[in-house]
């Protein structure tokens, strides 16, 4: 054939051309024309004109020079869609191919669709173009129809039956758009089977008919997600063209087609296609027959006779076709909208609450006067719905935020009276302090370990650099510490002895006996203890000097000065435990008071020995001043303390305290009572409490010297720890503790007075032993020995520690063996062996794991607290400390979750608002109930992202499409910080307050997911910028990071409320 010869030059290469769909009266026509014909391009004249004088390609005769064109014309393709039964789609990564198969099995050229990413437009079908059917309807060239197409190429494949042109589409959405336009064009008479346009699943893009509609599942079925472009799938699909026309129209069509059939331009196809197009005449007819039913196989009618009828019939047909198309389009539009809504309802209805709360009369939000108006005479506010409504629409007036926020966060109950709230606050504060004391102990250990580690690292460093023996530095510290507690130890022993002696003395007096020997021994021991105290000091000084010389040496050599570190740390430690001390003291007093009260109730007797304990106890009381590092020794009030003075030159570290405590604890173990609250315990308490009572008068006397009796202080800390442990261990053992209002942490004896209102009779008179009430934990192995009467003299317990006799099993580092502190009385070696050797840590509450875990969190907290909101003047060191305390307390309560970056940011505004630590902590706790899921340990963040996706899809398709185009985007990671911190970093502080109020109030009013709508509002506020710049993922992140703290919060929040309303309306309106 003429064509073949010219075609073989590039049989394999697709020839670019122009593909168009025409809607004519005859039906839908697919036309393809080579590019060369379109732009008037004429090839060179290399064609052999001798192929024939007349080109028989087309009807008209063409002359030599036109042969080339004729060739191209021959290659052009015109297919009446009704002739096509099947549409084969071959998709490959390189492009898509489409083959039309007629009923006679003829394969029309595969049409290959390119994969260029640009939106194609197929307005043909949309603008139902029709035309009067000319006689030569299918004349080559454009018949004036408004058609645009894409660059589609025809490729000639050589098959068995000759040249077979095939059409390839370039890469891109073209195949899809072609098919969808085809499908639309087929309406209303025909359709593709299976339909191209099908709804499936969720997340469809609705309403945009520009070839973005989702094709049928099979076209996209190779496991791609909704976001990917379906054109990227390879595969073969088959569509069948189904004609559902009713009979009369068919008849009309048939008549029309007959005319078409007879038109000459079909002839080229005959040559192009392997099968004769004459057969297409009949096939044309047969194509019109719907497989399902309907008229089939009309015999070809004589066209000529129908000409006039056909003319009017064609117009009528076209009109009705148009009508139907309009109706069908309207129907599909409505159908799409319904599907849209069902998606909304399914996926978004969970995000908002169904009933819409009106916003009338909410100007200014919750103002002070409204707030006051709402609370009754008892201070109870009952109309919570109104409160929420006002806050939701207008926020809270700044002055009353402090009062209102606890309600919004659910800390205060609506309807609670002022008294109840005060009570709640007090309890909260107590709880807070209790917890704080618990972790403060651990913190001390942690700090010590840090120091050691630092020293070790430095030592290693020095070693590696060949400096002086680093071990000296380490041992320096060690010995420093050791000497410290040795000192204390001595004091403690001394005091024990003194107490024992005194008790015995009194007892004897009471019983009329004298034991001079004890006095003697007292004295002896007094003396001994005196120099024992000095001895360590001397040693310490030696060490210090050594260290100093080393340091000097190091200095001279430009090395580190560990000694300074030591002293630095030392003072750090000191300040630390001094704080604890304060709390401890307070607790002591409270505890004591409570115990006294209990005992008094129980028995109503006094113990003489209390006097002794009084004095001793006062030592404890004397300590806690509010200026921690007061090291100046003051003249001791009693003769018992002269030896303390030298000790005071070196305030011991908290570990020393702990060590000492352990020592003394051992003795106390003798007296320990598991799970306290036994009479014995009470009795012990009573002893002390009485002494405390006596203290009242003596308070002034004794409560002076800041660090008079470091051992006492340590004892109290130990006691606190024990107490804390007791609390921790036995939840119900909180009676004595909680009853005391720890709100008065003023650390002066005056508070004690308030709590001492009852006298307490000691149960057992012989208990001169100042056994501390040891509310021990069951887990305390040491607690086993509960013998109350450790006879003579477990000169262990300083009365001071008795009220809080919680056995602490904490391990201390750098403590000595406590064997040196042998109890004069009962000696429970077994207990002592359980007592932790300082360097190791034992079980019990403060296990090693616990300490490690808390240490890790402590470091993280410290790093973050330092950096929190550094630019805000509120965060002075003092307030940062408060923040740190809140964090530590929260983490202590939630150790398994631990501290995560971001928690500081959440707590900071609460602290700013509430000012008070315990209140801020309580609110923070409530906030975290919801917020903790947002952290990496929870799952909420993914849910947020998914919901954001749905929201944007529904409420802003255009933005969604942009995000789709940049796939990454849909990770929504630019929202991560928003959700994690509830927008705290995106807004200025005052706006943060308003935003948080909105989030909290919205939970009750309109949506529990207000954060989503606020995020959406942020996006919408800048959507123009985003769209105009076609921002991708990195752009968006950068954009919002730079916009932080520059948003117009009021409008954003208002928009967020609007969006909620939109969704609510959407759901509400059926």
């Amino acid at each position: 054939m003429a064509i073949s010869t010219s075609a073989d030059k590039d049989v394999e290469e697709p020839m670019p051309g122009y593909l168009s769909l025409h809607q004519t009266a005859a039906g839908l026509i697919i036309k393809w024309t080579p590019n060369q014909l379109m732009n008037g391009y004429t090839e060179s004249e290399g064609v052999d004109k001798s192929a024939g004088p007349l080109c028989t390609v087309y009807r008209r005769a063409c002359f030599g020079p036109l042969c080339v064109d004729c060739v191209y014309w021959a290659m052009s393709l015109q297919v009446l869609v009704w002739e096509v039964v099947y549409v084969h789609v071959h998709r490959s990564p390189g492009g898509d191919a489409l083959i039309l198969v007629g009923q006679d099995g003829v394969q029309r050229p595969p049409v290959h669709f390119p994969k260029v990413h640009h939106k194609s437009s197929w307005p043909v079908v949309a603008s139902v173009q029709w035309q009067q059917l000319p006689t030569d309807i299918l004349k080559p060239g454009f018949s004036g129809g408004n058609c645009c197409g894409q660059d589609a190429v025809i490729r000639h494949c050589v098959g068995q039956d000759g040249v077979r042109p095939s059409i390839h589409f370039p890469k891109g959405g073209h195949l899809l758009s072609f098919l969808s336009n085809l499908e639309t064009g087929l309406l209303p008479h025909g359709q593709l089977d299976p339909p191209l346009w099908s709804q499936r699943g969720t997340g469809k893009v609705f309403g945009r008919g520009k070839g973005r509609r989702r094709p049928m599942p099979s076209l996209c079925e190779s496991g791609e997600t909704e976001e990917t472009d379906c054109d990227e799938v390879a595969g073969d699909y088959v569509f069948r063209i189904v004609n559902n026309a009713i009979a009369d129209r068919e008849a009309m069509r048939h008549s029309l087609l007959e005319r078409a059939v007879s038109s000459p331009p079909r002839t080229p196809r005959r040559t192009l296609a392997s099968t004769s197009t004459t057969s297409s005449d009949s096939s044309t007819m047969s194509v019109d027959c719907p497989p399902s039913a309907g008229v089939n196989g009309h015999p070809p009618m004589n066209p000529a006779a129908h000409l006039p009828v056909e003319q009017s019939a064609s117009i009528e047909l076209v009109c009705s076709t148009m009508r139907r198309q309009i109706i069908s389009r309207a129907f599909y539009g409505w159908l799409a909208y319904c599907r849209h809504l069902s998606t909304v309802r399914t996926h978004l209805s969970g995000l908002v609450q169904p009933n819409i709360v009106p916003d009338d009369d909410t100007e200014g939000g919750l103002t002070e006067e409204r707030w006051r108006a709402m609370s009754d005479e008892h201070g109870a506010v009952c109309d919570k719905d109104e409160v929420y409504r006002l806050v939701y629409y207008g926020g809270v007036q700044h002055d009353i935020r402090r009062e209102v926020w606890p309600y919004l966060l659910g800390y205060y109950e609506f309807g609670s009276t002022a008294a109840a709230r005060a009570e709640q606050d007090a309890a909260c504060r107590r709880q807070y302090e209790t917890t704080m004391s618990e972790w403060l102990c651990v913190e001390a250990i942690v700090k010590q370990r840090d120091r050691e580690q630092t020293a070790a690292s430095i030592a290693r460093l020095n070693e590696a650099q060949g400096k002086l023996k680093p071990v000296e530095n380490v041992s320096c510290e060690y010995e420093t510490t050791m000497s410290e507690w040795l000192c204390v130890e001595a004091i403690v022993k001394q005091r024990d002895r003194e107490q024992t002696a005194a008790s015995i003395a009194r007892l004897n007096e009471a019983q009329g006996k004298l034991k001079p020997v004890e006095n003697v021994s007292c004295e002896y021991e007094t003396t001994m203890s005196e120099w024992l105290c000095v001895e360590p000091i001397v040693k310490q000084r030696d060490r210090e000097q050594t260290a100093a010389s080393i340091a000097r040496l190091n200095e001279a050599q430009g090395k580190l000065k560990p000694v300074e570190n030591v002293s630095c740390e030392y003072e750090t430690t000191m300040s630390e435990w001094l704080c604890v001390e304060a709390i401890v003291k307070q607790r002591d007093r409270e505890q004591t008071a409570a115990s006294i009260a209990r005992l008094n109730e129980a028995q109503g007797k006094l113990k003489p020995v209390e006097n002794v304990s009084c004095e001793v106890f006062e030592d404890d009381l004397s300590v806690i001043s509010d200026n921690p590092p007061v090291v100046s020794p003051e003249p001791s009030e009693t003769e018992k303390r002269p030896e303390n003075k030298p000790v005071l030159s070196r305030a011991p570290s908290i570990e020393d305290v702990e060590n000492i405590e352990l020592d003394t604890e051992e003795k106390e173990k003798d007296d320990s009572i598991v799970n306290g609250e036994t009479e014995k315990g009470d009795s012990r308490e009573s002893v002390d409490i009485d002494s405390l009572k006596d203290l009242n008068e003596e308070n002034e006397i004794h409560i002076k010297s800041p660090i008079q009796n470091p051992d006492l202080r340590r004892e109290s800390i130990a006691e606190i720890k024990r107490l804390a442990e007791g609390i921790v261990q036995k939840g119900d053992g909180r009676g004595p503790l909680c009853s005391v209002d720890s709100g008065n942490i003023n650390f002066n004896g005056n508070d004690l007075r308030s709590s001492l209102d009852e006298s307490l009779p000691p149960p057992t008179p012989h208990q001169h032993q100042q056994h501390s009430v040891i509310v021990t934990n069951p887990s305390v192995d040491l607690a086993a020995s509960g013998s109350p009467a450790s006879g003579s003299g477990t000169a262990n317990v300083s009365p001071a520690r008795s009220p809080l006799g919680v056995v602490r099993e904490e391990s201390h580092s750098a403590g000595a063996s406590f064997d040196t502190l042998e109890p004069s009385g009962e000696n429970k070696p077994d207990n002592r062996s359980n007592c932790v050797s300082p360097a190791s840590s034992n079980g019990g509450v403060y296990s090693n794991e616990l300490v490690e875990s808390f240490a890790l969190n402590l470091h993280r907290i410290e790093k973050d607290v330092q950096r929190c909101d550094r630019n805000y003047p509120f965060f002075t060191d003092e307030n940062l400390d408060k923040l740190r305390n809140i964090m530590c307390t929260y983490v202590w309560d939630n150790l398994e979750m631990g501290y995560m970056q971001g928690m500081c940011d959440l707590a900071a505004p609460l602290l700013v608002m509430m000012q008070e630590e315990a209140a801020a902590h309580a609110l923070f706790h409530r906030l975290m109930l919801r917020a903790k899921d947002n952290f990496p340990s929870g799952q909420a963040m993914d849910a947020h992202f998914a919901d954001m996706r749905s929201l944007i899809q529904i409420l802003d398709c255009e933005l969604y499409e942009l995000m789709h185009a940049h796939g990454d985007y849909t990770h929504f990671y630019f929202c991560y910080r928003w959700f994690l911190l509830d927008f705290k970093r995106e807004l200025l502080y005052k706006d943060v307050f308003a935003a948080w109020e909105l989030i909290w109030a919205a939970r009750q009013v309109s949506s529990e997911h207000m954060v989503l709508f606020m995020a959406l509002a942020l996006l919408e506020t800048y959507r123009d910028v985003i769209l105009a710049n076609a921002m991708d993922f990195t752009d968006i992140i950068k954009f919002f990071n730079e916009m932080a703290e520059r948003h117009d919060a009021t409008s954003v929040l208002a928009l967020a409320r609007d969006l909620v309303l939109q969704v609510q309306t959407l759901i509400e309106n059926k």
Binding site: I458, A464, R860, R867, R870, N871, Q901, C904, D905
Partner: protein, 210 residues
Amino acid sequence: MAKTYDYLFKLLLIGDSGVGKTSILFRFSEDAFNISFISTIGIDFKIRTIDLDGKKVKLQIWDTAGQERFRTITTAYYRGSMGIMLVYDVTNEKSFENIKNWIRNIEENASADVEKMILGNKCDLDSKRQVSKERGEQLAIEYQIKFVETSAKDSLNVETAFFTLARDIKAKMEKKQEASNPQARSGGHQLKANEQQRKPASWLSRCSLL
């Protein structure tokens, strides 16, 4: 349209929280130091375009949250990074020990041929130093990664670090281009002495095949 850069390299800064990643980034991109930085939450990035051998190289440097909990999020950014800076704090032993973990994280999540570099930051705080330079170097040798001690505060070695990393990436990239398309390689490519170089002979031989 004229591009403002020839190459775009995505870099990533990782390391324990508080070691100074944000400060390093700020020093490199803005040449400033700010002690009041707040801790990084989520992810952020900065851009700086440098000149490497006549080519404009745009560095897009991503800054992440350091806490381990956030690793699942930050690992999403490992993919696609061409260079990763592992930062530790010389005054914090723990952060140095964690470098091994970070390297393992990279091996699991980043592409195999990502360029890495170890930075020991805060080297100006000599009095609090806990990790010697030798140890850092040793670690780097062990993993065959480059190492440098930096101080964002004193602007010490920050530029050097980034430039070196960028150069390495560029060299690697050009090597790959050579490997895949030798005939397209333009002359004048500067081979780094410390790179593994294909012998020019092989390039020529490849060329001759065509």
